[in-house]
Symmetry: C2
Subunit: 209 residues, 2 copies
DNA sequence: CGGGAAGTTGATATAACTCAAGGTAGGTGG
DNA sequence: CCACCTACCTTGAGTTATATCAACTTCCCG
């Protein structure tokens, strides 16, 4: 169903698709937790994940956080409607980021497909947040992650339970209980808290639609 | 700002704007509830609302519905990452739709800003669905609607409580109680169930951030 | 007027949140 | 190499916001 699933593997060395004809740029390294850009900063380029993972999020005045997307190896982020960032972006783990400055001439033609993919993703996520239960949300999350890591049964989870909660609109405890429930029902196996094996994929995908 | 934002009432006969006569061949009429496109249909063009209002939504297998966006007069919708619609779109009230076929040459340049605006909108809506209470969601909804209708204190609501619920991830009863609460606190006045006056805009906007 | 759809309000149920206590694992220094 | 420390995670118990079920009201529209 997702059109953007040609990522090879979350574990292998990062693959860089030649989607964008960009001026060659150095890859910058970001330690876990370090900021890539902040809300209000001037948006001047795009970012492509070489290795590692990134979270993009907004904050409410009282500190509530909504992660709008995670980006894995080979994925591109940082689009803005105007010249200013409306979100924060930081590294989840040690991460390499390639900076991309599309040439002015055909910038739109290069950006449009990427922007539309992000739009579709965000719209699908609205359905999850608006209408799915905690277990359904976690099921959809795991399937999405698996697909973006190559569609294998083994899923590597580069983010904490807090991050998952802030992405799915749940608390850390509810996320943990959803994992436990899926494990108890033999739908997944928890190799560690950051490593999951999908045992009954069909059941999982039935839950998320 | 928006050409046709001063709709008098969701029930009144649709007003036929002057532009319509200038390009009559491109406009189609849709009665309330009639489908504009369906999930799985081939996406071949964009749509601009001339008058009326449109809802774009997805369904889960068991009938749960998530409205991902409403579109009002002058707004454009129908972008897809691939050539297939992933959502349903239908008219909320009697609606005029202009069909747009961007010329192949500069399609991307025209579409990109529209797509990015939709993306920003969807991302902001994620924050509402993921992290805000029922009253906060309704407050954000009313402010958004007011802004898109020209920023006046009087807000015309072209959709039912069910539609609002399916947009905000709430039930019809919870939406109704949120309206009643805002009314009771003298933040809004309910002229009718489809017509609201914003009395304390600052309070309302403080609630939604 | 009368009937039906839409909206409101009340009572109760429940999923998820909050608060609290333990458990686990990876990293560091002894 | 082990023991401790700290982060993160899990589980349990009680609370709360929203959903559900149900009755009543209002407003169109014939």
């Amino acid at each position: 169903m997702h059109a953007f699933s040609r990522t090879v593997s979350g574990h292998a060395a990062p693959v860089r698709p030649a989607q964008l004809r960009e001026q060659p740029q150095a890859v910058s390294f970001h330690a876990a937790g370090s900021e890539i850009y902040g809300q209000g900063e001037r948006a001047k380029c795009l970012y492509q994940v070489e290795f590692g993972a990134v979270r993009v999020y907004r904050l409410l005045a009282d500190g509530r956080r909504q992660i709008s997307a995670f980006y894995l190896a080979s994925e591109t982020f940082g689009f803005e409607a105007d010249a200013v960032h409306h979100f924060f972006a930081d590294a989840l783990v040690a991460t390499g980021i390639r900076i991309i400055r599309p040439s002015a001439t055909d910038m739109a033609a290069q950006l449009l497909p990427l922007a539309l993919r992000s739009l579709t993703r965000a719209q699908e996520h609205l359905l999850v947040l608006g209408r799915q239960s905690a277990v359904e949300r976690v099921a959809a999350f795991l399937l999405d992650l698996a697909e973006r890591q190559g569609g294998f049964d083994h899923v590597d989870i580069p983010m904490s339970r807090i991050d998952i909660g802030d992405y799915l609109g749940l608390t850390i405890e509810t996320v943990s209980r959803a994992f436990s429930r899926l494990k108890q029902d033999r739908i997944i196996r928890l190799l560690s808290s950051r490593s999951v094996e999908i045992v009954r994929r069909k059941t999982l995908s039935d839950m998320s639609e």
